[in-house]
Subunit: 284 residues, 2 copies
């Protein structure tokens, strides 16, 4: 597996030798000192270029970066609509395991890029001295934010209301409908509330990582096992058990947050728990 130095040299040498490329930045976890470096980190590179279209004419120029296992061009797909406007990107997994997420950005959009990025940006090359201030990467945008009373209530409202869709799916023997609502809405709001609780104790000055992937660091083994048990959803009994565990966990953490921040604990819990138990008993 080529080293970080080797990879960065390839990306920068290419940029230095191509007149169309005026500015190069590195983004994402490789700029984030709060993320332990490892070989799985993507190289999130942006080339700010005078003519994006000229690069798109063919893919030969990408060969220089290394032999590929596979590539995706997200803005060149029929099944998934492009989402990057005038930008164009390449996601490449190399045979040596390195991974590149290369984005081509029209140089005329550089100002907008620097005004609206997520903070995790490092300038690697600036041929025209476009950047006249110090750019220091930081992950502040991803820190857990202290919820307002309204945001707290909204999270409770969404958790309990969408739980009724899980109940509907289970009662109708439409388990895939139930699972998706648990995975996509109910549990994410549980994880949000857990993160609020943890941050209310540790301070709102850290990130829980994408998909709350660092959550385990902040839970006891018992709490972690309880959370993980909600991910066994391969049958109806498992799903009911998981739903009731989510209720218990959400109740515990939302009561703690409401006490900690002196926010009103809403009555959705009482009504929806009774509703759920009623239906569970009728279908058991």
């Amino acid at each position: 597996m080529r080293s970080e130095q080797e990879m960065m040299d390839i990306f920068l040498d290419f940029a230095l030798n191509d007149e169309r490329i005026r500015l190069v930045t590195l983004e994402g976890s490789r700029t984030n000192r709060n993320i332990p470096p490892d070989n799985f980190q993507d190289y999130d590179i942006s080339y700010f270029v005078t003519d994006v279209e000229s690069f798109k004419e063919n893919d030969q120029w990408l060969e220089i970066f290394g032999k590929r296992i596979m590539m995706q061009k997200p803005e060149d797909m029929e099944l998934f609509p492009p989402e990057l406007g005038n930008w164009f990107s390449y996601i490449i997994l190399f045979e040596d395991g390195n991974k590149l997420d290369l984005t081509l950005i029209p140089i005329r959009e550089a100002e907008d890029y620097f005004a609206n990025n997520d903070g995790l940006v490092k300038v690697l090359l600036d041929k025209d001295s476009f950047i006249n201030y110090k750019v220091t990467p930081n992950d502040r945008q991803y820190w857990i934010k202290r919820p307002t009373a309204r945001e707290f209530d909204d999270c409770c409202n969404e958790f309990w209301m969408v739980s009724t869709y899980v109940v509907k799916g289970l009662a109708r023997n439409e388990i895939l409908f139930a699972i998706d609502h648990l995975n996509e809405i109910v549990r994410p709001n549980l994880l949000r509330m857990m993160a609020w609780h943890i941050a209310s104790q540790k301070g709102y000055s850290f990130s829980m990582g994408k998909n709350y992937k660092f959550m385990k660091r902040y839970l006891s083994n018992k709490e972690w096992e309880e959370l993980m048990s909600t991910y066994s959803v391969n049958g109806y009994q498992e799903m009911w058990k998981s739903l009731f565990t989510c209720y218990a966990l959400f109740r515990k953490y939302s009561k703690a947050v409401s006490e900690g921040l002196a926010y009103k604990y809403p009555d959705y819990d009482e009504g929806i728990t009774k509703y759920t138990e009623g239906i569970y008993c009728s279908v058991k």
Copy 2:
């Protein structure tokens, strides 16, 4: 539990007696003859009104519809940005178990509504004879569509490329990251491919339902059990097993679709399976 007739009478009587309400429609599953009726179906009602804001001044007027367990006003939340433009909606679960999803739409947007709806619409009341043609609800927009060669390749590309993120999460002991990528991208593309396979045999003239909830009807017990086994993801060994089962199922169905439609079977499988097995062996 109040009957459908009782509920519809309440919604229509209210509309008849309120001058601001000019047009009423029913949407969703209650208009869809392909969905077996049951008590869990929402009442998806739209009131086309002269003045949305006047309804928003307070919620007293909603009391007439019945005693509530809970309500959500999706366009009046801080945590979740509104998504309906000038429209405003109320999701209400009543104490008797009925559920209403009521949307207020400015009457001036009625034309746009009828031009851009999903086909599942029935006109219940039209005080000003606004609609001068027959509106017949149909679920055609939800039928499985025959994939183009490019869409087929895109689905394969997305499945195999995002699988590497699941592998990354598992290898890093960041299981929540891995689970989310399996649940939100990898498995949905497996379900899409399975639906394409089923429709390539049965004809592209039916809907698999929200979240593929009718999938079970079209699978053998063995196939269904295999799919369901991928939903047991409450630990690292379970996740690896689920991922490899998804690989086997995707391979099986995508090969069948590629043969059935004479589309090229892409080589992503080979490369990513080898990559995955390599990392699995290194972390086992």
